[in-house]
Symmetry: C2
Subunit: 763 residues, 2 copies
Amino acid sequence: MAVGKSVPRVDGAAKVTGKARFTDDYSLPGMRVAKYLRSTIAHGRVVRIDTGKARGLPGVDGVFTFEDIPKNVFATAGHPYALDPAYGDVADRLLLTDHIRYAGDEIAVVVAENELTANKALALIEVEYETYRPLVRMDDVLADDATEIHKKTNNIVKEHGFVAGGDWEQARDESDRLIDGVYETQVLQHCHLENHTAYAYMDDLEHIVIVSSTQIPHIVRRVVGQALGLPWSQIRVIKPYIGGGFGNKQDVILEPMVAFLTMQLGGIPIRLRLDREEGMIGTRVRHPFRVNVKVGAQEDGTVKLIDFDALSNTGAYASHGHSIAAAGSAKTHYMYPRAVYRCRARTIYGNFPAAGAMRGYGSPQMTFAVECAMEETARALGMDSVEFRLKNAARPGDRSQITQKPIMSCGLVDCIKKGKELIRWEQKRDDWPGEQTGPVRRGLGLACFSYGSGTYPVCVEAASARISLNQDGSIHLQVGATEIGQGSDTALAQMAAETLGVPFERVHVVSAQDTDVAPFDTGAYASRQTFVGGQAVMRTAQQLKEKILEYVGVINGMTPRDLDILNGDIVVARMPETAVMSLKDVAMDAYYDKNRGGQITAEVSYKTRNNAHVFGCTFVDLEVDIPMCKVNINEIYNVHDCGVVINPLTAAGQVHGGMAMGIGAALFEVLMIDPDSGRIYNNNMLDYKVPTIMDIPDLGAEFVETYEPSNPYGSKALGEPPVLTPAPAIRNAILDATGVAINELPLNPKVLFKHFRAAGLIE
Amino acid sequence: MAVGKSVPRVDGAAKVTGKARFTDDYSLPGMRVAKYLRSTIAHGRVVRIDTGKARGLPGVDGVFTFEDIPKNVFATAGHPYALDPAYGDVADRLLLTDHIRYAGDEIAVVVAENELTANKALALIEVEYETYRPLVRMDDVLADDATEIHKKTNNIVKEHGFVAGGDWEQARDESDRLIDGVYETQVLQHCHLENHTAYAYMDDLEHIVIVSSTQIPHIVRRVVGQALGLPWSQIRVIKPYIGGGFGNKQDVILEPMVAFLTMQLGGIPIRLRLDREEGMIGTRVRHPFRVNVKVGAQEDGTVKLIDFDALSNTGAYASHGHSIAAAGSAKTHYMYPRAVYRCRARTIYGNFPAAGAMRGYGSPQMTFAVECAMEETARALGMDSVEFRLKNAARPGDRSQITQKPIMSCGLVDCIKKGKELIRWEQKRDDWPGEQTGPVRRGLGLACFSYGSGTYPVCVEAASARISLNQDGSIHLQVGATEIGQGSDTALAQMAAETLGVPFERVHVVSAQDTDVAPFDTGAYASRQTFVGGQAVMRTAQQLKEKILEYVGVINGMTPRDLDILNGDIVVARMPETAVMSLKDVAMDAYYDKNRGGQITAEVSYKTRNNAHVFGCTFVDLEVDIPMCKVNINEIYNVHDCGVVINPLTAAGQVHGGMAMGIGAALFEVLMIDPDSGRIYNNNMLDYKVPTIMDIPDLGAEFVETYEPSNPYGSKALGEPPVLTPAPAIRNAILDATGVAINELPLNPKVLFKHFRAAGLIE
């Protein structure tokens, strides 16, 4: 049995030995280099552009400006297509623009025989701007006299609001306390290892082939078709291995441009590759949020209401836009499902790089706000933070306040209890009596989260798989779901092995997706791969197994239902120790008998119509060096309820990665944008402080296994959740240690200094 | 309706604009060059080899000799695997050898950073040989004291014999005349435009990816697995567009070596590319035959028996070996199915490049022999050649003498009549009274052929297809069948369009095969693509249509059987003018409705258990310039019964190509091998005389359409047959013109001179 085992990653050896090939590891003879000309101002308009000198430079194949592009306005967000236009993404992009909306906006593009020539050509393009006042601060964006960043929007992308779970007024009236706080989160960049890169060429007069480092090949196909006004079937997208994405590759960024360029230049192969500095402004960032949270609670600790009022800034272009705030509020609500839940959220534009999807998709921001507010509430009530959470935490059988669907699996209470035990909460509470003094103080903190598994019912959740039986009795598994470093190929291979009854080692995953032949799946996002993809894999494996046993019946006359597959052998179902024949013998007969059989394959395309609730928490024990404004984490644990753990080894890896990312967001990372000029200060890996191995403590990844009945293997989402709670847990522990409640991120020395000085801890 | 129409080739625009990509149009960063060290002698043994200096040359990655290779003896012939070992190919190859069997045998291989370095390294390898007498002439090979080219073979690959269609002795007794002749055919080379080339790399520790110009990707996968002793599933073969093969790429030549080399060198990409000169000796050639034919006939022109005794020489290695003589005799026999048929055939080794598959696969040789003998018989009986053929030609309802299966479609008589009319046989017979004199004389000739469609029941005939419905209502067709320039993608796309009810333009064929994902099919050979592949395409298209109509029922509640698809729209079956919805609307619902549907795809793997008989003939009108020993063709017509013509335009193209190839074999081409040294004289395109457009007359391609019930579209083989009869028709016309019966090929000036002088026509 393969599910539940710590099998090594199917791509592990390939990746550590360098044999795995990424987009840039492919090339085509004669491939050209494309480079963007980016605006030097953050807000304004191009009033004159002269590309004459650039066009005349030897080695330049073409120069294109906003004047040369198709006028199809398109949306870049990596969502499945919505049949209902109300669910559609905001289309506010052209391939190039003369209306500058951030410092780095794409106004022209050069294609040349090499990078040096391309850069020379860029330098020869003359541009004159008309400049407007950059709008970066939320209040500036919303000022009455603010210039519209996008016409007829009032700078607002979208807003929504609702009340769920009961009557808000009544809940407020039943609350003894109403805790009120405002929490702000910063702009972050994903900093995946592999930068964005894509190349395209034409292999006939109509079809465009795009090879891209993307999480969402089938969506790229659609968006490129829309951007260029072509039938989608004329676009072919190939996704090799990719070196991380974290949501930044759940957006269609370079592909429409390379497709356009190859069409313009006779189908020659053209590559567009962003280096780190360009990528950090030219791709996507995390939306900064400002959230006003109210928590209404009774003296006994019962939370009666949770109220959000969130403002999210999507930057220069909508990209995922308001979906971030909407998803963030929706996925957070059933953590405390017995409270009335009110949400108002608004997403605005701003003159900085477009914000898009990033691991957690709005939930890190919302979770930071609610879990800070919950901590404040516990403190206001004089309750132990753990007991307060336990009292209100979701339990099996609770229902989502919004959908009224039951929470079928829920280990939140056990996660909190396990975290408390791991961190030795009670012992440490006894050891550190109340008020600490001195320069270094110790604190404990926790934060809880809830999350979803996929996007249903907001988006369609389709996944497909195809399995073929090889001559040697092994199987090839093709999935539309994309491996992006998270380990989904391994988990899906385990599932296929489990259902088929073949050893895990005999499952080979075709890891690259090619939209011309890959079964349809919308890609890697929303922590959906094993939950949604697993549904398709299970059904495909079952279908293959049925076909195999049926064919054994053709060979030897036995009844398929009397047969089973065990460890790669056909066995008698009631006497599984009796092997009838090997899978290899079945396969060889099917392939090569002259008068019967044929290749045995199976394919299923399946739509998941569930969205399992996932839960967990972070517990942290840390020290704050007040004069140094420095935080040192002693112990930190994430405890997850992700249903059945498909692979403990790779699950722990996911949790470790997410925790490190969460710690980065808590203590170090911020993309610094000058609020007056819109200029970005630190778009490089020296100044943007991604924590290194030296900055990260030992990470404790723990699980409380439940069984989720809406998934055939009992599992739920694990991809994004690990990132959600380190920041609020750390913030709460700093409050615990110092008494200073800091409601913004990151908690880096600069911010701590400001707050510690305001609190009188330092002068 | 798409079948029967002269639609343009699906790959036509891509190929004429240069956008189509062939193996050499792909590269990988860091790719290395491999080059063979080939023996300078034709027969012998390497007694010493020193690669030290070559290994020490900077830029050399590795040098491997016969000492370094795996000891798995394998067969290279591109046949499907045979479950019955009696049908297996002769395994007589290693990757490299110290036992030299032809001038050019592979004894070592160098891998270097570029071609120059590789060539330098080759020059630094020191080799000492022990030499044996080269055996090139058939009689030398069979001499009692001949050295064994392969141990324990007596230099015989295989032999067989049988009598079919009645009692041979009785048939002989009933014959008034027994005509006896010996006919010899030459060694030919395929001379496909694109030389052999392949590269390989590893994308993890186990899997080898091979990109190759091959007709048979799935067979390459198997043979590489066998050659290297690896599970077949660890091999992945990708076939891009290929520039012709004619059977020479129905052999596994370079792929095992590139796979071996990349395994040895850490998985780095390595390319092995043969240039023209190397390829003409290092790949395969056509088997030379010596055939003794006896024809027994009655005075009224009834042929009672046809008797072959054939000797075929496979050269240095078996490759397709005796299959060539076996297929050649089997596919020729039912041309005159009312005669008793006796065959004895033997295939021997010889010290020249290995002979393998080449368009016609033994039939050009056998057809030359029998159609020369038939001409002699007609002349001996004093009968008109046409009347004689018409009297004996196969007719519908005749049965194969060997299989006793009925000939279900047969247009041979009509083909002969049509050819006679086209060439104005009777008028010209009247115009040219009997004996001609003078230096330039005119002659008429004809020759008939029969052929098969695929290899059943000798080999398994499996084909598979997968079709997916795109969002825009178009379809993607994946086939295992390989487009090799012959136009199969176009014919199969027409079939899919026909069965599905969509316009041909909306069918996109995924032309490249990738064995990891392509539906299984053994490849392009034996004129099987449309006959065998069409079976799978038809069933897959039917399955897709059923699924689409079923899903329309899900959408609108209608009964699928009341619906149909017409011109890309869903219509009411009984009122086809009434469109219910477009395929695009069905597809969009299936892909994107949140609560129903899924990607609609279909896949079928099917084994054909028929082998349709095909027929046709060549008529030629030519002049012989006796002093110049030169033949000038005035008119030439091929008339084919290939069942229903799927695409008249591409069918005519096939016939034109085959006729040109047949004329080349008749008048110009021969790979000249020194019978004493085994050295090859003319392995280049200057000295090997492939006819150019200047050497080829206007070619008449005509069809007699029949309906073949064993194929759903009524079609039969057309790929190879056009090459079969130009040579005997031309030989018979020269006999007609000059009275000189020449029983060898080619009929080039040198040969004509010999025979004309012997006949006293020139001094």
